[in-house]
Amino acid sequence: MKREQWGSRAGFILAAVGSAIGLGNIWRFPYMAYENGGGAFFIPYLFAMLTAGIPFMIMEFGMGHKYRGSAPRVFAQLGKKYEWLGWFQVSIAAVIAVYYVAVIGWAISYFSMSFTQSWGADTNGYFFGEYLKLGDNNSPSQLGSVQWQIAIPMAIAWAITFAAIFGGIKSGIERASKIMMPLLFLMVIALIARMIFLPGALDGLNYLFQPDFSKIADPKVWSAAYGQIFFTLSVGFAIMLAYSSYLPEKSDINNNAFMTVLINCGFSIIAGILIFSILGNMAHEQAKPLTEVVSSGVGLAFITIPAAINLLPAPYILGPVFFFALVIAGLSSHISIIEAVTSAFIDKLKWSRKMAASIVCGVGFIVSLSFATNGGLLLLDLVDYFINNIALLASCIVELFIMGWLIKLTAIHKHVNNISEFSVGHWFKICLRFLSPVFLIVILGTNIMTTLTKGYGGYGQSDLIILGWGLIAAMLILAVVINKASSTVIAVNKPIKEV
């Protein structure tokens, strides 16, 4: 069976950028920058982009393109004993997909509410009490019942993702990306164009960009910058391997990787401008210092921003545009996450795309209902912490170790340089063999130590052990079992030979 292919280079770039640009660009990056030296954070951030983000992206594009497969197939072709890493990465993608869609569901709900701002004046009380219906007795293991006001918009998100995956690479994912990404950029630019002229907006930007160069000497700021780069680029969990496996034989890998990373990081800065101009206006309207209104993550998107929208002129226009942008950013990433899982099943079990999409999305929807419960937010928070801060970083380290030290990274280096318009020098290998692993090991080591000694989020030890460490262990065991059970070498699509 001939492997599907992207219809155009622009289609691939938009899909890869759509995957990398997600909710984190909007709600995580601006706060990270603000907290870690403001404008001075850009120095370690851009350094991390050049030394970790771009080389990692080139490597993953090169691997996917050379070995023509989803993550398990790519690693199986590198060495049969490495297939487990591919399945581990696919399981990371699967877990992220089932909780990420809950947040997209919340964003869809808030999009519909934003026309009338029906969340009211007490946005905190509304989000936790009336919308999520989070009770005092709920915990990650005491979920309560399914909340249909969350489950129904979540089903809508699943339906859109399913349509894109079911349609295939060219007619589904590429077409969706060509609509979604320009729309997302237009909406964010339009929002900035309005917000920037509101009173207090420039003060907000000043908080974001005012450099505090003393922070550059702090190793934690460098760790934060590297961590942000690894989180934002969708590397290390099967997505970019799958996407690049659909590239035509003659593809400019290096330039594609540069474009994807640069556009993603550029979008993060633009999102920072949007968020801090909104926060600046909010602080001005409430006559508070910005430090009192600034937040990140779920709190920023569903508590602070709705409160800020209440204070905006024409909130019935700006509110829906903001939440629609959030939905689009989330959906484009969710589609790529599900494609990473679907393509693995297509490759491994020889399922048709339609069958694989139906099963993956169907099972995914059922599992994701656990995040649409009263305690769904708590479960999401706990699982997200362990997946992002432990499993994903560990996956990146193992991938770099295998590629940099066990297998010749030179083969990928040669491959990408042979087919690309411009070559990357030896810095590519130095960054991937030394610099990136060192930072990743420091960040992962710190995360593991902190979690072991201090726990996380005040959750009970049993929840941490079962739903955190236990989940990662289960994913690892499952990956190893599949690897052991694989008796046939997967080589339907032969790797591309050196030119």
Partner: protein, 35 residues
């Protein structure tokens, strides 16, 4: 906005979007040369 903040904003936007624009230009030139 302070001068320092403006410089850092321009630096961040310039490096990312400027770099992306250069890459896109290169890709478009390649496309044209093929046609």
């Amino acid at each position: 906005m302070t001068t320092g903040a403006i410089i850092m904003m321009v630096l961040g936007l310039g490096l990312t979007w400027g770099g992306a624009a250069l890459c896109i230009r290169k890709a478009m030139q390649k496309q044209k040369s093929r046609e």
